[in-house]
Amino acid sequence: MEHKVAHDWRLRGQRYRLEGEVCEHCGNKIFPPRDICPECHQPAKKPYTLSGRGEVYSFSTLSSAPEGFEAYAPYTVALIKLAEGPMLTAQLTDVAPNEVTIGMPVEMVTRRIRTQGEDGVITYGYKFRPALVAHAQ
């Protein structure tokens, strides 16, 4: 448990606010941060916070959830293509599973991900919801 708290703490920049990296050689935006550009394979360590805008690339609905997430079932996990290019997997929120469509515009929000019992730490992190207002192109 202690180990998990420390792990979450180190990831808080990317979990709370989509802090990734930008490659100074080719301009590629990287998420999650990996310090090497997957496009040009040069070192890339400059922090870059992604806009959080994107669209649903694919999705699936879970009716039985893993331990710690039972309260949220049923919920939808989606592969999201961010406006800057990177793809990531995230839980969708504020949407009924039958309302999710491929190509649906979504935006990042920071929500409760899980709690470690009644007295443990609360983990916050990114989820995505249907875009509140139409994205400017």
């Binding site: 808080r12 920049g13 709370y16 606010r17 802090e19 916070t49 309260a71 949220y72 929120t93 504020d94 929000v109 920071t110 929500r111 409760r112 991900i113 609360i122 916050y124 989820k127 509140l132 207002v133």
Partner: protein, 351 residues
Amino acid sequence: MNNGHIMHSQRPVGIVGYGSYIPMYRITNAEIARVWGHESGPIKEKAVAGLDEDTITIAIEAARNALVRAAIAPEELRAVWVGSESPPYAVKPSATIVAEALGATPYLLAGDMQFACKAGTEALQAALGLVGSGMGDYALAIGADTAQGRPGDELEFTAASGGTALIVGPAEAALAVCRGSLSYVTDTPDFWRRAHEQYPRHGGRFTGEPGYFHHIQAAAEVILEEMGLQAADFAYAVFHQPNVKFPMRAGGRLGFTKQQLAPGMVSNTIGNTYAGAAITGFAATLDVANPGDRILLASFGSGAGSDAFVWEVTEAIKERQSRAPKVADYIRRRAEIDYALYARYRGKLAM
């Protein structure tokens, strides 16, 4: 220079960015009344936080909207203060999590304020002081709550979730300049929640006249008198809104018309968001304000006290209104739930 009871900062300050957040779920008063066998409730419906929402997540989204409107970098904030009566942790500041999510850490003050429904304006007064003294250029004051009423209690009709964030900065960059503020506080036992209790209690005899009306009227009357202003000098006025009746009556007694109160009356459709209530009404008013408009804001917090502010809207307002979602956008985003789902979302089922 000090005259009377009004507080003036050393340098002129104002609001450079504002933003709100209201969860999408709604339960109607008709539904709550049905469950408890009442005829009806005091408002139409209230906003309910989803399972993955709390005061911190509400504060984060409101603050992101405020930052977009202010167009400043989060590292420029020298304080993040979260006013709430429903912090997710009893010990561990909400403000550090909010500041981290915004990217404002580590060189800033971060703390939580507690004063029932005026915790948000308590944070705002402190932010005016910090920026007004020149200790920093920007400070973020937030009022947010996921308020709970005991099932069957009259508070259950109105206790709601939502919040607003206000970024204070130098007057030159402000969309609304603060012309003066005042605080009026007494020890009044009108509402409380003891440690480790889930739901608050209210002392019937002290709610209403000795609580809400006395403190709001005292604060508003003195700030108007000492500034030589009358209700007619204002485009709008916003008061703490535990329901619709109280702010309408307080406004009427102070000489304000229904039209002056209308844009800031959001309690009928979102409920009483406690520390977020008065300032969410203020945000809804800023959403429609024009340059030159004067706005009176007076909060109320049980315990008890009122913070009153006189604002003057600047030319900067028009462009910043559309940079982020408005209060009306969040009110429109609405999914109605029944009492059973509401009980699950708000943890009212003891298992």
